[in-house]
C-alpha cells in the first residue's frame, strides 16, 4: 500500500484510458474525462501514458504516502501542497514516505489528475481499472475512493522532481468555451431555423454535469420537423426507436436542454441526437464548471480530423519535451 486516503474530496475516482469492446452490452468505455491531462500527468512521472491515476472533481483529496514516489498533478488549477509546502502544477515533484499531499480551493477548470510513479494497481475489470460505479466495475471494489482506502501502486520511485510541461503545451478551455460539433445522426429532425439557432445561441453549463453527461441551458428551445412518429419511437417529437449513442453525441430531450454524452454515458436510448462534439474537444468538456458559458461551433469532417491531428501533435511535443 502506498496511498492512504485521509479525505477523498468530491467524487474522486480511479481512471485510466478506459475499456473498449463492451459498449454493445451497455458497458461504457469509461476512463478519464480529460485524457490529455491524464496522459501528461503519467508522462511527467515516467509511467505508461495510460496508467491509472486519480481523477478528482472540483476539490482535491488528502493522501498520505507510505512509500516515496514521484507525483504530478495536471488539469484543473488549484494550489498543491506536500506537508503544507506549495508545489507546481504540470510538474513532477517527490512525496516522501510519511508525507501528505493536499490541495486548496479550486481556481479554474473542473478535474485534476494525480499521477503517481508506478501507477495505481487496483485489479482490472474488463481490461481497465477505470471506475464505473453504476455497473460496479473497476476502481475500489467497483466504487469511487473513500476515506480510509489504501490504494496499491506500482511502487517505483520514478524520475524525481523537476520535469514539467511548458505552459504553451497545456490545454484548457477558454471562456466562453468553444466546443466544435459535427452535425449528423438525427440532425434532419431539426428545422433549419432550430439548427442555426443552436449554433447562434450562447449556452451555459447546467449543474447536472458529471461523468455520464454534461447538460447545457440558456439557448432557445429547438423545433422539430413535423412528422407522424414512427412505430415504436414514442410520442414526443424528440423520441426515436431506441438506438446506440455515439461518444460525444448531443441529445436534446423535449428540444430544451442539450446533453453531451461523456465517458460513463448510457450506451443507447430513445432520444434523437443532433450530431456529436468532435473527438479533439471532448477533453475540454471535462474541465468545464457549472455556469461556464459555451458556444457550439459547426465544423465539417475535414476540420474535425485536422483538430484531432493538432491534439495528437501537442501530445507528441510533450513526449519530446519529457524524453
Amino acid at each position: 500500500m502506498t496511498l492512504k486516503i485521509n479525505n477523498p474530496g468530491l467524487a474522486t475516482s480511479i481512471q485510466d484510458l478506459g475499456r473498449q469492446g463492451y459498449f454493445h452490452l451497455g458497458i461504457p468505455m469509461g476512463g478519464a474525462m480529460d485524457r490529455f491531462a491524464l496522459r501528461a500527468a503519467n508522462m511527467l512521472v515516467g509511467n505508461d501514458e495510460g496508467a491509472a491515476c486519480l481523477e478528482a472533481v472540483f476539490m482535491g483529496p488528502e493522501i498520505e504516502f507510505t512509500r516515496t514516489a514521484t507525483v504530478a498533478v495536471t488539469g484543473a488549477q488549484l494550489p498543491i501542497k506536500v506537508d503544507g509546502e506549495i508545489q507546481e502544477a504540470w510538474s513532477s515533484f517527490v512525496v516522501k514516505a510519511g508525507q501528505t499531499l493536499s490541495f486548496e480551493f479550486l481556481q479554474s477548470g473542473a478535474r485534476l489528475y494525480i499521477a503517481v510513479s508506478g501507477g495505481i494497481t487496483t485489479p482490472k475489470a474488463l481490461g481497465s481499472r477505470s471506475t464505473y460505479p453504476i455497473g460496479a466495475l473497476g476502481g475500489v471494489e467497483g466504487r469511487a475512493v473513500q476515506a480510509g482506502d489504501e490504494l496499491p501502486t506500482g511502487g517505483d520511485e520514478g524520475p524525481g522532481a523537476g520535469r514539467f510541461v511548458s505552459e504553451n503545451l497545456r490545454r484548457m478551455p477558454g471562456s466562453p468555451a468553444i466546443l466544435r460539433v459535427l452535425p449528423g445522426l438525427y440532425w434532419h429532425r431539426l428545422t433549419e431555423a432550430a439548427g442555426n439557432g443552436f449554433f447562434e445561441d450562447e449556452w451555459m453549463v447546467a449543474p447536472e454535469a458529471d461523468r455520464m453527461g454534461y447538460r447545457f441551458k440558456g439557448g432557445r428551445p429547438l423545433e422539430f420537423v413535423d412528422r407522424e412518429q414512427p412505430f415504436g419511437a414514442g410520442a414526443d417529437p424528440s423520441n426515436i426507436v431506441d438506438g446506440c449513442y455515439s461518444y460525444g453525441s448531443i441529445q436534446v430531450p423535449g428540444g430544451t436542454e442539450p446533453i453531451v454524452l461523456h465517458r460513463d454515458a448510457v450506451s443507447g436510448g430513445g432520444y434523437f441526437t443532433l450530431g456529436a462534439i468532435i473527438s479533439a474537444d471532448m477533453d475540454l468538456i471535462g474541465q468545464l464548471q457549472p455556469h461556464t458559458p459555451v458556444k457550439f461551433e459547426r465544423v465539417d469532417m475535414r476540420a474535425a480530423i485536422a483538430a484531432r491531428n493538432d491534439r495528437k501533435l501537442l501530445l507528441q511535443k510533450i513526449r519530446e519535451e519529457l524524453a
Binding site: Q20, G21, F23, H24, L25, G26, I27, A125, Y132, I134, G135, A136, L137, G142, L182, G184, L185, W187, P230, F231, G232, A233, G234, A235, D236, N239, I240, V241, D242, G243, C244, S246, Y247, G248, S249, V266, S267, G268, G269, G270, T273, G275, A276, I277, I278, S279, M301, A304, I305, R308, K312
Partner: protein, 291 residues
Amino acid sequence: MKTRYTFGGDEHVYIEMDDEMSLDAFFKSLSMSNAVRDARIEGVTEICPANASFQVRFDPDVIHPDDIMTRIKELEHKAESAEKRLTTRIVEIPVYYQDPWTHETLMRFRERHQDPNGTDLDYAAKINGFSTVEEFIEAHHSQPWFVSMVGFVAGLPFLYQLVERDKQLQVPKYLRPRTDTPKLTVGYGGCFSCIYSVRGAGGYQMFGVTPMPIYDPEQKVSHLKDFMVFFKPGDIVKWKPINRAEYDAITAAVEDGSYVPRIAEVEFDLDEFNADMRGTNAKMLEALNDA
C-alpha cells in the same frame, strides 16, 4: 425500408435500417453488423447492434472516415441476401407482477407520471384498451419476446413482443424520468419491455420484478459464472408470472447457488414466423416446457 448512413462525430458511423421498429429492420441490422464484423476492417473498434440500427466505432488515425463509410455501404447487399434465421435460445424469466418494491417506487414518483391517481399497470391497461390489469398482464406474458438490443446500462435487454403489430402493447415513458428504479424491475416504454439490470434512473413504466439476476460483475451467481452479462441480441424470452412465495423461493435458490434458469435451444426463422406467428411461438414454448 431505406437504409440511412450518417457519422456520429469523427469516430462513429451510424446506420439506421428503418426509422420504425420491425423484426425485418432488426434482422437486417443484425446481418449487416455481422457482415461488418466478418469483414475485419482495420481500425474498427466496436460494433453495436441496436433495435433497427447499428453503430460502428472506428479509429480515424487508422482508417479515414470516408473510407470506412464506403466499406460499410458495400456490405449492405450481403445483409439483404442473408438468411433471416437464427439458432438461439428461449429463456423463461419469472416475473412477480405488482410487487411491493416497484409499487413503493412508482408511488414515490407519482407526480412525474401521466396518471397520478393509479399505478403504472392501471394506466398501461387502460390506454391499451384492457378492462382489467389482469388481462393486460396476461397479454404481456402469454406470447414470447425477442431481445432486440442490449444496452443503456450494463446488460439491460430491450425486448420486442413476437405478435402482430396491432396486438403490440404501447405505453409512453414517464413524463420526467425517475431518479430511482429497483434492481431487476420489468419495465415498459414505447413498444419495448426491458429488465433494469441494476438500480438507478429510468423512464420506463414499472410492471413487476424478477428474482433472476441478469448482471453480476463479481460473477458469483451460478448462471453468470462464465460471463457477467446474461443477455445477447437474438435471445427469446417467455415471462412466467409468479407470486410472492415463488419469488422468495427463487431468491433463496439464487443465493445458495442452486438456481438454474429454464432454457431451451430453438431455431427462429423470420419468414416462418411471419407466415404463422402463433404456430411458431407455440413450437418454441413447447421446447421450453420440455426443457
